[in-house]
């Protein structure tokens, strides 16, 4: 088999995943696209392992490690997404912009005020860590009390 087939397939799969990461808005869809990119890397590893006939089978061992790391990554990532969804009421990554540098403070506050409306109700039952974290943010706390 020509080596270009699996290599080109891996490249195209990686670029499809790249498009998904950049274009999707829901955080879980972004995680799916990340899985596609990891699979492209795995195809490359397996193809080069078969091509080089490595006696240590480094490609296949690394593929197994990548699969395990991807499983761990999807677990942690989904836990974070669920936590964000529980605290903010939304998992759209376009709307999670509390850390943004606001160039115009009035525009940023009017944009963020409606989003922060629903956070006080859910912020009361936060754990202590995220609560103290939100009190550190000065503008966010001011917005919430206003």
């Amino acid at each position: 088999m020509h080596l270009a087939y699996p290599a080109v397939l891996a490249v195209l799969l990686f670029c499809v995943g790249l498009y998904g990461v950049l274009a999707r808005r829901n955080a879980i869809l972004v995680l799916m696209a990340v899985e596609l990119m990891l699979n492209a890397v795995n195809i490359n590893l397996v193809a080069f392992d078969v091509w080089l006939r490595d006696t240590l089978h480094a490609g296949q061992a690394l593929t197994l490690f990548t699969i395990a790391i991807a499983a761990a990554e999807i677990g942690i990532g989904l836990a974070i997404v669920l936590l964000v969804h529980r605290n903010r009421g939304s998992s759209d990554i376009d709307r999670l912009r509390d850390l943004r540098e606001s160039d115009s403070p009035s525009g940023g506050d009017s944009g963020g005020g409606s989003r922060a409306e629903k956070s006080p109700a859910s912020a009361t039952d936060n754990d202590a860590e995220s609560g103290s974290d939100q009190q550190v943010q000065g503008p966010a706390a001011g917005r919430r009390h206003a």
């Binding site: 088999m1 080596l3 039952d125």
Partner: protein, 204 residues
């Protein structure tokens, strides 16, 4: 006589190359690759979130078939078990728990999709050009002379537990850390009074 010799030659070729002839392997590889790419494109472009997860199943299953064609059998079954079995189920759990809409959600794509399309097409063009130019005259010899294939579970297990034991153990520690981290992230300190069925520690 001539036909007999011809059939014997093809039989020897089939013996040498296994189930499919080399060009047959290439054809099947390209076809499954097209299916995989189509499913991946549907995953990143569909408007329905649950359909995206189901197209992801097709894409990952296609990748598993590609592993089988590359004679990496153990990796293929691990791919089916881990990805199709657990990762997609986790993603479906995540979609349900974030109250994903069942029907079409028009805001699945953000506003910068054209920029994303331009970036990914440019990356694809560059990488395909480079890769095809680099591996123009490179061939994989999939036919194995004797013994188990290079990707059978015996060979993979020997390599994994003889040469890669230390990374393997480190990876088990990482999995444990991920497990503990997911539990810590998912539990809520505020509702200890709720019954345990309501807590979300079992999501992981």
């Amino acid at each position: 006589m001539n036909a007999l010799a011809h059939s014997a030659a093809t039989h020897a070729a089939a013996d040498h190359h296994g189930f499919l002839s080399p060009s047959g392997v290439e054809i099947v590889f390209v076809l499954v690759g097209l299916v995989t790419l189509g499913a991946a494109l549907a995953t990143v472009t569909t408007k329905q979130l649950v359909h995206a997860a189901l197209w992801l199943v097709v894409a990952l299953g296609g990748v598993a078939v590609e592993y089988l064609l590359l004679t990496a059998e153990f990796i293929a079954w691990v791919q089916v078990l881990i990805y199709v079995g657990s990762v997609v189920v986790l993603i479906l759990f995540g979609l349900m728990l974030t109250r994903a809409p069942i029907g079409r959600s028009p805001d699945a794509d953000s506003g910068n999709r054209w920029a994303a399309l331009a970036v990914s097409v440019a990356a694809a063009a560059t990488l395909v050009t480079v890769v095809v130019d680099a591996f123009r005259a490179t061939w994989i010899d999939l036919a194995d002379p004797a013994g188990p294939g290079s990707g059978s579970s015996e060979v993979t297990g020997t390599a994994l537990f003889r040469h890669w034991v230390l990374p393997f153990e480190a990876l088990s520690v990482l999995l444990l850390a991920a497990l503990v981290g997911a539990i810590v992230l998912s539990r809520r300190d505020g509702d200890r009074d709720l019954p345990p069925a309501r807590t979300r520690a079992g999501e992981r």
